[in-house]
Symmetry: C2
Subunit: 302 residues, 2 copies
């Protein structure tokens, strides 16, 4: 397999939408489809369904199956659909991977969710069991902000040898040296390397990351696509100018958590009224005003 084929669909700007649901955790398939239709129209490079922003951790197996079915029906092959299958138990994650494949997902994504902290080898065996449960290309979801699991480079190298594991979704490096990290990862693995943390997208793409997994892109794809495409084309100055326009929004991501901000924007865009799953709470009026001010220019030409 050549590198391009191996990296499909883990390249470019991947959009991670919310999964709107009611207070009891029942997925609102209609609003979800509305969000997905916008992403297809914008021609994002892939859709990350049931990622952290898609609140996968808070949804039952049945609701996750409903979300995937609705997404497959809506997207209809126009954009590759990457589906999050993380779960605390290995057998549950295996079931979710099989469900996603059966329902028509194009690829899988999984974070090493844990309660009792996992060893490196436990994480490896967990990934091996879940990745081998389906034939779909698989992305390792390195998300220490929610899982508190730290991947060693040796673990990523071992994982890269599993036949379906093709990609890793990395957090922005603490020291900011994305180029150095990319070089180190490429020396040890042939994984497609993507990043998340929207405020770092411009520098990650300029540094040559294969993909970027974007929260804002799941709701407002155009500004993120513009940054991703100018950055990928090496137009650093223009990419940074576009990113600068979003700095006030990135400040709210850092202050309130991007997930909570997305629920405010969902309503502000007139797309739906969903709230985050409790115990997460809707943001207060002051935070909402700050967010709306930060995106004022974006909403006016949505």
């Amino acid at each position: 397999m050549n590198i391009a084929a191996r990296h499909h669909p883990f390249h470019g700007m991947s959009a991670f939408p919310l999964t709107p649901a009611d207070a009891a955790g029942r997925v609102d398939a209609q609003t979800l489809s509305l969000l997905l239709e916008r992403l297809c129209e914008a021609q994002v490079d892939s859709i990350g369904l049931l990622g952290s922003t898609g609140t996968y951790a808070y949804l039952t197996r049945e609701e996750r199956r409903r979300a995937v079915a609705a997404a497959v029906e809506c997207v209809g092959g126009r954009v590759p659909l990457i589906v999050g299958v993380g779960a605390l138990r290995t057998d549950d994650a295996v079931d979710l991977a099989r469900d996603a494949e059966t329902s028509g997902a194009d690829a899988l994504l999984m974070a090493p969710v844990s309660y009792t902290p996992l060893t490196q080898n436990e994480a490896f065996e967990h990934y091996r069991a879940v990745a081998s449960a389906s034939a779909l290309p698989f992305c390792v979801y390195n998300n220490p902000g929610t899982t508190h699991f730290t991947f060693g480079i040796e673990l990523l190298e071992r994982l890269s040898h599993l036949p379906t594991i093709r990609a890793v979704k990395m957090p922005l490096p603490a020291g900011g040296d994305i180029a150095g990290e990319l070089a180190a990862l490429r020396e040890r693995t042939d994984l497609a390397i993507g990043y998340s943390g929207d405020w770092g997208m411009v520098e990650a793409m300029l540094a040559g990351a294969d993909a970027f997994y974007s929260v804002l892109g799941g709701l407002l794809p155009y500004p993120m696509l513009a940054i991703a495409r100018t950055a990928s084309a090496g137009e650093a100055q223009e990419a940074r100018r576009l990113d600068d326009l979003l700095q006030p929004l990135w400040n709210t991501f850092k202050a309130y958590g991007s997930l909570r901000v997305m629920y405010v924007l969902l309503e502000a865009l007139g797309l739906g009224q969903a709230q985050p799953p409790r115990p997460l709470l809707p943001l207060d009026a002051r935070a909402r005003s700050e967010i709306l001010a930060a995106v004022d220019s974006l909403l006016s030409d949505r």
Copy 2:
């Protein structure tokens, strides 16, 4: 209510047994009852069912209900039964609290389990919803090693004003100043203050903690009761001597995690063959030998 009544049943040595289950997560009620019978015979001060060591996070609502029902039937009021009701979603934790009360639990315990990190206020509202769903006395489970949530003193103070919240289970303070922390907490709350982290039990009880929540006590109650009772009686020298005998075991707790060590001991004691829930893996032969050597003297007069 006077302080003693307010602190019941959150005082003395509370034993946290495993919840033996098969690979599919079905609770082995017979082995569980065997473990609980040993705790009743040893006259532990309370039993912490479905704590972290009881793998609550890995069990379904139905299996947790089965475990509580089996425990209530076995214990039959001989020892107060504290039941863990933590869940990622507030509505699920509310259901678990109601289930536990209906099944005959004496008290509840809950950690602020999260995926998306919670704010202090989100944790407060989560506790308020769950604590008010039952009339049972409630212990706040401060377990940053698994939840990665940090309780501020202001949050603990707010929680202590909720009518059923009576106690907090604290991790050992990073700096080691248990007496200082107890004084600070007592200035701000009237909660019964207990600790966990078995290697710190002797110093926590000598410092005047109201309770200690013990992992080893769930499987080998006698040595932990001996330490707790000599320490509570102020016999510092004897308490420390008894604790010193367990130092090799505490080293294995720190190296492998106490939960994994408990599964080795369960089998070594001839009490059952359960394994930890995957992705957690059984320890290898070398670790098992180290653990067995560490408890050799304890097992010979179990």
